[in-house]
Point group: C2
Chain length 280, copies 2
């Protein structure tokens, strides 16, 4: 669902000259139009009020008022997202804002880019799995451990392997009833890719969580789950990317949990009670 400004951009070349001038003005100065009357806008575009109204109707709005409200709303939503790169001399507040918005954006983009059918397949596979292996090293190792922690709580037989030898050892012994999840943002991490390949060869269903696009890991994964992210400061910061990956884990976990809700509530209560004595 593209925003209002994108719709204007898309239709730009099918517009009559005078309407095109209006469209371009709005695209260039979208923040202005909330205070512009139809007459002022017409003047600034070097055209007439009637053309502005026609332009609004062409775009499917009820009239100028309607366009004004819709564009302003679209702009408000967009401005919430702009986050810009962190620069070295940013103050504390700027860094808090930029890093946070960047992480939010990573989650949002992932939400948009995730293939619903692939997610459904992955959830189905995880639910049926006799046991689950999670493979990941470095930053993705953390994600793997998080996944294990979650699925453990709902009584799924699963293990996160962050040690290369252990990954390979476990993968070699998987059966067709098992599922292996390889986590690597670059999609090029040898250890994880090799382990996933071995798992596939052993007959297990393989799932990867990686960045959008083709990479070695996508070749050895039966089910491909993609995340997108751009880092706020350092390319290799691995901040937003792991948030996006964790979001995928949350989604898978929630899907599996919803399938057998009654059982799972019980498991969650059990595990919650188990650690309760360790709380003040």
């Amino acid at each position: 669902m593209p925003g209002d400004l994108e719709k204007i951009q898309a239709i730009l070349n099918n517009l009559k000259p005078s309407e095109k001038k209006i469209a371009q003005y709005i695209l260039k100065n979208p923040e202005e139009i909330s205070d512009l009357t139809i007459a002022e806008l017409a003047k600034r575009c070097g055209t007439s009020e009637a053309s502005v109204v026609r332009f609004c109707k062409t775009l499917g709005y009820k009239g100028y008022q309607d366009l004004k409200i819709k564009v302003s709303a679209d702009l408000a939503v967009k401005s919430k997202k702009v986050q810009g790169l962190v620069s070295v001399d940013d103050d504390v507040d700027a860094i808090i804002t930029k890093v946070s918005k960047n992480n939010m954006l990573a989650v949002e983009n992932t939400m948009d880019v995730l293939d619903r059918a692939e997610v459904a397949k992955a959830a189905q596979a995880l639910m049926k799995a006799k046991k689950i292996d999670f493979y990941g090293v470095g930053a993705s190792g953390i994600v793997a451990q998080d996944a294990m922690h979650k699925f453990m709580r709902i009584n799924k037989a699963c293990t996160a392997y962050t040690d290369t030898h252990m990954q390979l050892t476990s993968a070699a012994n998987l059966s067709p009833e098992d599922v292996a999840v390889g986590i690597s943002y670059s999609g090029q991490t040898m250890d994880t890719v090799d382990a996933l390949r071995l798992a596939k060869n052993a007959g297990a269903t393989t799932i990867c969580i990686t960045k959008f696009g083709h990479s070695p890991i996508t070749e050895v994964a039966d089910i491909k789950l993609f995340v997108t992210s751009s880092e706020a400061l350092f390319r290799s910061g691995a901040m937003a990317s792991r948030i996006a990956q964790l979001n995928v884990i949350d989604i898978l976990f929630t899907l599996v949990a919803c399938q057998k809700y009654d059982d799972i509530i019980k498991y969650l209560e059990n595990t919650s009670e188990a650690v309760a004595p360790r709380k003040y």
Copy 2:
């Protein structure tokens, strides 16, 4: 920075009776007002057009048009965020959306609630620290490990302890030049609280990352960093809360990294090169 609807809510009781009726109508049906003319709104509120204009001015808007635009924009921003609880019979798309939005909300709320001064103090302490200990168990243990992984990359002497005995052992040996970071969403996790207390007694600077409000962990922390979150499905899911905590780690990491940017770039390159041979 509260939204427009919150502003109306806040001022509600200082309004004259007729204006109050308008305020209540808008709060109850905010999505309507974008298509209502001033006359229609007045009628629905059982009041006059003049009162609507007065109401707009009282709130600091230029007039009814202005209010209309601002409220619509505010609503658009808010509707992007509403995520509702996951229900058991949601389909894949609904769950992807709800879980993602919930995670985004956790980051956003944390961004709003984080005390800038405390964050600055924390970053300062981490930068000066001779060594850093991260304590956390369970889901928060993952966050602790993530923190260690990040700070390690910029050549900070730090360790994440997720084992109770090791936490206590390390804490007992800290010095005033060291920093200990205790991570516990509930703020009541004995292991983490005890370790942080021991660290404080040993003279180290203590930082906690926990949920907003008072809890055992805030009593033993010199610097308090708060996150907020509400879980999408299960109260004990620990999904959004750990995303919020990781966001805080990212912020601290970025702040420290920005302070000595030139050195840090070098460290990041070194560490990136170090793992490069393990990539396809």
